[in-house]
């Protein structure tokens, strides 16, 4: 099968990579959803550490790859943290002119930033251990995703794979005939990009139409159909699901008992 070409790195063959993609996606979803209702910094911090350790152990990603994967989430989280710290009313901790930092701001901001990290580390683990093609296959087999939608998305995935090259080719095909600027260089402005982006859209729509024809001519949509490569879904997957949910529940419960857990009200306290 293909490597997860669009992930920053792959961990094929790792413990996590052998798990069923649908189950992984569902777990990612459930944890992310649960996080939406948590507004204290301690709970997500604990969750993050647990998740980081588990994912590092089960994917054996190189530290560098792991760090690189974190960059967008850290950046995103930092932004959220700063805005909240500076713009949330409440008990003033520090003030200088228009700039003011509140306790509530720090707490909520920290919580939201850490939440981003939790979702981030799970997403890194998911993407690094999951082949997009296998995921679609698994969704088709285990989540009743229709064959036409599945293959439409897979065809889209192929287009996506080709897109950087397509984009480059289009830019260059345009550049070849473009009139040079007086100083002899290629026009680089926004309008050149706009044109290329539009051409990409046009060429892709066109290609999509032909792909659809091609898929139909190969009988996509006939029933009954068979599946060649079964994506396994076995007891280990269920075990993983149960464990993850249990740990999540455990941490939330513990946090509640110890008085750390805060819900939505934290925003308005």
């Amino acid at each position: 099968m293909t490597a997860a070409t669009t992930s920053a790195f792959t961990a094929s063959g790792s413990v996590l990579a052998r798990r069923n993609p649908t189950v992984k996606l569902a777990l990612l979803f459930v944890v992310s959803l649960a996080m939406v209702f948590v507004f204290d910094p301690v709970t997500p911090a604990v969750l993050y550490i647990v998740a980081l350790a588990t994912i590092q152990a089960s994917t054996r990603l190189p530290v560098k790859a792991m760090a690189l994967g974190h960059v967008p989430f850290v950046a995103f989280g930092l932004g959220i943290f700063l805005v909240n710290a500076l713009s949330r009313p409440g008990q003033i901790l520090w003030e200088a002119g228009p700039v003011r930092v509140t306790v509530e701001g720090l707490s909520v901001g920290g919580s939201l930033a850490l939440r981003t990290l939790v979702i981030g580390i799970l997403a890194i683990g998911f993407v690094a251990s999951t082949d997009g093609v296998a995921l679609m296959g698994s969704l088709h087999q285990h989540a009743r995703l229709g064959s036409r939608v599945t293959y439409a998305v897979l065809a889209g995935y192929r287009m996506l794979q080709e897109m950087p090259r397509e984009w480059q080719t289009i830019r260059q095909a345009h550049a070849v005939r473009a009139r040079l600027r007086p100083d002899g260089t290629l026009p680089r402005g926004l309008s050149a990009y706009r044109r290329a982006a539009f051409a990409l859209l046009v060429v892709s729509v066109r290609k999509g139409e032909r792909m659809a024809q091609s898929l139909e001519s190969r009988g996509l949509g006939l029933s009954p159909r068979t599946t060649w490569r079964k994506i396994p879904l076995n007891s280990t997957d269920w075990l993983m699901a149960t464990t993850v949910l249990a740990v999540l529940g455990g941490i939330l419960a513990l946090s509640h008992i110890l008085g750390f857990l805060e819900g939505y009200d934290a925003l308005f306290s």
């Binding site: 995103f76 932004g79 909240n84 979702i119 939608v149 995935y157 539009f198 859209l201 892709s204 308005f268």
Partner: protein
């Protein structure tokens, strides 16, 4: 004897062609966003706290795909499906910073963008409909994001809302019409519903 057919559109099930079109739109815009976000992330880090605010200026561009899909395919749920497919592409294949919660955001955006078109029973494609579509899409998803990201209770809440709505109107609504009209001119969407209606209008004239 001769039979003449320009097959009637069956409303029953989605044709593969239409489905693939929605995916293609998702892929193309997903890719363009991705290119765009690369540059954007760097910029927003540089801007510090303003970076978080600045996301609202471009929020509307995430809405684009829904009105375009609806205008081309002209059938119910096209907008919602297109948005969700675009988010699937983003999360599963490109790896988005928002994670799977993006699916929900996408669905909400799609619903918002689709309501104005649904209200005209997918018949009117004037500036007003597009504008409303962008406004509603941006509006609905704003409240969801606000909940998810804890914007409530912030000082800048209303500033966020206003920027968000304007962006939705311009980038998620009016720009969509410009793109659709240009796309129709190239002839690549002739074989979709939009091609039929345009042809019908041309013949009536």
């Amino acid at each position: 004897m001769s039979t003449s057919t320009t097959p009637a559109r069956t409303r029953s099930s989605w044709s593969l062609k239409d489905l693939v079109l929605l995916v293609v739109l998702g892929v193309v815009f997903g890719f363009l966003y991705w290119v765009f976000v690369q540059a954007w992330t760097a910029l927003s880090i540089l801007m510090g706290p303003a970076g978080d605010l600045s996301q609202h200026f471009l929020a509307g561009s995430w809405l684009l795909v829904a009105p375009i899909a609806i205008a081309i395919v002209q059938r119910p749920f096209a907008g919602v499906i297109a948005e969700v497919l675009a988010s699937v592409i983003e999360v599963v294949f490109l790896g988005s910073a928002v994670g799977p919660m993006l699916f929900i955001a996408a669905a909400i955006q799609g619903i918002g963008s689709e309501i104005p078109f649904a209200a005209t029973r997918y018949r009117s494609y004037g500036w007003a409909t597009y504008a409303l579509s962008g406004l509603l899409g941006a509006g609905l998803v704003f409240f969801y994001s606000a909940f998810r990201s804890g914007w409530y209770g912030q000082d800048v809440f209303f500033l966020r809302l206003v920027i968000h709505l304007i962006s939705g109107l311009v980038l998620g609504g009016l720009l969509a019409k410009v793109i659709v009209d240009n796309l129709a001119k190239t002839g690549v969407v002739d074989n979709f519903a939009i091609g039929r209606t345009r042809l019908g209008k041309a013949n009536a004239r």
